[in-house]
Symmetry: C2
Subunit: 528 residues, 2 copies
Amino acid sequence: MLSFVNYIKLCASRRSHLLTKTTFQRYGYSTIKLTSDNYPNLKRNDNFKKITSDDLAYFQSILTPQELIIAKDKDELNLYNTDWTHKYKGQSNIVLKPKSVDKVSLIMNYCSKERIAVVPQGGNTDLVGGSVPVFDELILSLSNLNKIRSFDELTGILKCDAGAILEDVDNYLKDKGYLFPLDLGAKGSCQIGGCVATNAGGQRLLRYGSLHGNVLGLEVVLPDGTILNSMHSLRKDNTGYDLKQLFIGSEGTIGIITGVSILTPTNPKSTNVSFLAVKDFKDIETVFKRAKRDLSEILSAFEFMDMKSMQLTKKHLAETDGSMTFPLENEHPFYILIETSGSNKEHDDAKMEKFLEDVMGDETVIDGTMAQDVTEIEKIWKWREMIPESCQSEGAVYKYDVSLPLSKIYSLVESTNAKLLKEDLLYDPVKNPSGPVIGAVGYGHIGDGNLHLNVAAKEYNKIIEKCLEPFIYEAVSELQGSISAEHGVGLQKKNHLHYSKSPVEIKVMKDIKNHFDPNGVLNPYKYV
Amino acid sequence: MLSFVNYIKLCASRRSHLLTKTTFQRYGYSTIKLTSDNYPNLKRNDNFKKITSDDLAYFQSILTPQELIIAKDKDELNLYNTDWTHKYKGQSNIVLKPKSVDKVSLIMNYCSKERIAVVPQGGNTDLVGGSVPVFDELILSLSNLNKIRSFDELTGILKCDAGAILEDVDNYLKDKGYLFPLDLGAKGSCQIGGCVATNAGGQRLLRYGSLHGNVLGLEVVLPDGTILNSMHSLRKDNTGYDLKQLFIGSEGTIGIITGVSILTPTNPKSTNVSFLAVKDFKDIETVFKRAKRDLSEILSAFEFMDMKSMQLTKKHLAETDGSMTFPLENEHPFYILIETSGSNKEHDDAKMEKFLEDVMGDETVIDGTMAQDVTEIEKIWKWREMIPESCQSEGAVYKYDVSLPLSKIYSLVESTNAKLLKEDLLYDPVKNPSGPVIGAVGYGHIGDGNLHLNVAAKEYNKIIEKCLEPFIYEAVSELQGSISAEHGVGLQKKNHLHYSKSPVEIKVMKDIKNHFDPNGVLNPYKYV
């Protein structure tokens, strides 16, 4: 049986690709372009006040020196101004890191009155430019609000500050036999409040559901400084509108989450992973259906990868990690990674064996392997998790994170490749040796209908970009999908919302924004 | 193994207590008091227009005769004016039953402009007076919007009209190997839209989670007639505020739900039920913790009942159903009903046996039995499900549906009995033979922290009511619980919200109501 300790090791290994702030600093900031230069059409809103010495004096009157970063700390300011992907860089001269919710409230009350624009910031691991300023917005970091407030070992209900780091909270819970119902690559840096504010998805969604189902209560500071506290420990509460839901996924545009109450599940005692091959995408659907039937309550991940994504990963791993041999002997059009998590190893094994007999018996699955120990489990997961890095290894990658009706997921990869071919952009050693694009590859969470479409290229250039956009957004729109499954809107997709939302939906959203934040001081220029 | 067919039979048997409209008609309406007489302080809002012949002419111009019920159909009007519990009765002279969403939109647009108050009505199985008019509000019934729109057998995503009956939808899904993630006593009458509008909880919540996690999209007609359509089939979609969440549990006060898109789970193939006895409430907590550990992913119900609730049920069943012998030989302070649902009978049996050995081995559980077949499963469930009826069998029952932190659940039953004793209201054959109250009993869904506190009495009288209220609401408030776990607010609890919500929460709710429905035409006099 996979021991508890090994399971933790396994989880830790999955986080190996995390870029920490140290990595960040290593790269330096001088080469990163300012967002205002990258988006010359975006103008600073002159209704927002530029911070004066009087404002600074006020902040200094309510905060200790440890809760304040100002212009003289240039390097530190850079850290808060620049996003994780190095695509967005703001110009803020001030970061406030209040140590209490009351101070967050005082700050917002002041900023609201003075029309000072504010960007709330968690772990700053956002991928769409949502957590850094565009111009000189004040940065309000939640990092100093990082305590676990309480945990009920009977019910599994956890209450914590918004700034608590996901990994710290998860480790705390594991010691108690529970786990956080969300897992992310960025878990070593990302904060619980940020996860909730962006409605983060991640690996455990198939099993434990979304944050809309698991979050039981929030503490939120509204734009005018009012503290809206619903930090209840109740699984059922039908006394009025479920206000907290509005803030889940609102990306800091209508309130700042300062506390989270959440239901956590018990930690599984057994994990199995198998790696399967099928001959076409249709068969993935068949296997998924049978997995739902036979693995049912223990199914915890169902991931797919296409041949091209595995070829790129093989190539990249051959160059970087000689120890990784591909789990199967031959190549196949599609691969599936299935994980089960349960409370009884013997039962889980039996279910997995029966399922495998079934799908291999009638040759729906044409090849496959099952991990025999923790090391093998780790290795199989690595083949899935190294895809993003491998796609980038040729020089550049255009990344799209979309939701689509399951039966239509792969058609988007096919049509993207067809378009790249038609426009003569696809590299071919004989026919098109100067083609700048290696290919569009597809992988993702089948269980959630979430496709990661990565276009691997030798370089970033405007011709490729023009070929891909708005083509991909339009295709997603036509298939009634979402142009952002889990990454959110931020600055990047603010002007693309209409591909996934109707004019009525966008109008109602704008109304909600104006309702809660009539002066628009919270996270401006983004979202809606 | 419990066959699929038998499982359906089992489910059907659990719905035996349902009051249908036929039952309703049998009782007659003449004895039911008008809400306006019961609440003399509640005044009709004179801003609302009384429906004129011009208005009627307009409705007749857009609706067929089958979509309209007017004054001459008195009996039918009564059906829509009176609530399921016979506690609330409105005076509406018109019921509209549009057969299309566009017609709902036209009606709301007209009513909004003309300031005609509207009560949206689903299956009218509400328990808090939310689904019937208070005065002469127009009734907009969703009954004629009752189609299943689509079902994806691969993903389990169902789309249906709001007026589809829960039981019909569940039967449809069972044929496909799925089930609706919500089960209710009222399933034969209640409608999907009404369930979502009231955020219904029910028996399956422990296993499948709340509607906030399962509903993927809604179609809602806003007070001004705008159709807000988010009927997506996506499990993940982070493109803006999750607007649909606001309407889940909004009880028809800010929009009328006309369509629902929902994720449904696969139907379990095996069910086990055991009935256990423990010596005090603390031991229930211990058993719950071990059930979470050992039964983990297959645990689907964890109900508790106190001794008094079983005594009343024994007495009532002895009088009404001679075939029901109590599952255990002796009486005990507390009982637990545990249900598991899984995909493999053999595994589920083994898990249940191991769990029972553990809790009985150290005598945490002092007595117990496990159902051997479907009939026994049904019988055990009947002991739990007959409690409400049994509590009422002495003449009257005061019902409270509250959420409390798990460790504090039973203290409310104890303090209520202490108060009844102190105020000399508790019946005792020797010491207080004229005491009007049999006793306060407690039972409910431990897994959800949901206590049903029933005060069984010989009659309804003002002295008992004064003893119980606001005492119980205040106690729930002190324990930071919810005064409405699953029944909602409606008219009954509108003025009690402050026991569970802070002034800030209530203000933000009122603002939301005014934001969406500035003229207050939707479901007035209720909720917030």
